[in-house]
Symmetry: C2
Subunit: 226 residues, 2 copies
């Protein structure tokens, strides 16, 4: 993820000169696509940011679309990994893992922006990444729904909910909060997400299901354990 910057003339390191260019290109592309969108970014600007000429760039990625695909591919592998890891590590269920992810995203504005911008552009059915995102979202929802059901069975979440609808809802909340945060960094994405998870958890079915310790005037539950 670091910036495989510049071309130090010698390669005492692990990678050849070509490898370094490739990494520099990807790094530049991530930043520029995030800042200006796919359509708004020129290959020449990516090349320049990677200290190459534009034909030099094309040696590594034969077209702009190929470059885009590589970025998507790369992220696809990262994707969910963080979530799955924190799920396994903390063993506190999906909700906590999601909160961790949202917190993490606060410090990954660039990556968040990259994907927000690309998804948005890809809403257009003509966009080269359209099919990619359709599939990606479907898979994410499926994984979330499965995980939600696990949590319900484990008693970490109220049962009798529509896990599929909830999965879509969770994705929506994360995406939608990101949009607002990207538009205005003062927007409290984490706070709003916690408001959401409070709603997810503080539910009568769940409380009284396993059952609940709500004192009759639950006035201050909003500031529950946190």
């Amino acid at each position: 993820m670091a910036n495989a910057r510049a071309k130090s003339s010698r390669s005492t390191g692990p990678s050849s000169r070509g490898e370094r260019s490739r990494a520099a290109i990807l790094d530049a592309a991530r930043r520029l696509f995030a800042a200006r969108g796919y359509r708004g970014t020129t290959m020449a600007s990516v090349a320049a940011a990677a200290d190459l000429t534009q034909p030099g760039l094309l040696h590594h990625f034969p077209s702009k679309e190929a470059l885009l695909r590589e970025l998507l591919e790369e992220r696809y592998h990262d994707d969910g990994r963080r979530l799955r890891e924190s799920l396994a590590r903390e063993n506190q269920g999906l909700v906590v893992a999601l909160e961790r992810l949202v917190e993490h995203n606060l410090s990954s504005q660039e990556s968040v922006r990259l994907f927000a911008v690309l998804v948005a552009e890809a809403l257009s059915a003509y966009h080269p990444a359209h099919a990619y995102f359709v599939e990606r979202y479907e898979k994410i929802r499926q994984w979330l729904a499965t995980t939600l059901r696990d949590d319900e069975q484990a008693g970490r979440l109220p049962a009798n909910r529509d896990a599929d609808a909830l999965a879509g809802l969770i994705v929506a909340v994360m995406d939608g909060l990101q949009t607002q945060w990207l538009l205005d960094p003062r927007f409290d994405m984490v706070g709003a997400f916690r408001t959401f998870t409070d709603l997810l958890i503080d539910d009568p079915d769940h409380r009284s299901g396993a059952t609940a310790a709500v004192d009759a005037d639950g006035s201050d539950r909003a500031d529950s354990p946190r």
Copy 2:
């Protein structure tokens, strides 16, 4: 606010020839911007769809950006109107009004798509509509927060919630669900939204009205997943 509307040389009908062109341009632009985004749409294609040449179009809107601004402006007026109306008409509070809006959006895919695409492109700080959307979102959240507080006071929603965070959350849910629905029209946006409003409403504090019909027995919720 209104558009310093054209200078129709004559006004025999509701619209002169120029007026008709103008309307045709806006109509075409709405469709094309929605389908291909702002950057992805050429002025020539808009002109063609409006049965004009590109310079003919430029007679009405001196630049592409001017055309964009007009579309945003126009929507700005529509905006919230529907919500406010259904709020006033049904007098059932914000949640019901929001549900109506989401249902309505199902049949306005083009308009929804237009704005989803434009917001997305406008995440980039360089986009001509960036500032517009920052302001717009801020205003929407403020209005929602105010309305939420009204509903809380009217007893239609549980009190003691963070209305500001909730406002951002509501916007996020609507936007995020739209994204998924636009990517894949089979996605059940309305169902997912109802799942959300259920969470908003089905809360012990609220249900129990002034207070709790929740039987206390606090076993395991203290250590519930959190």
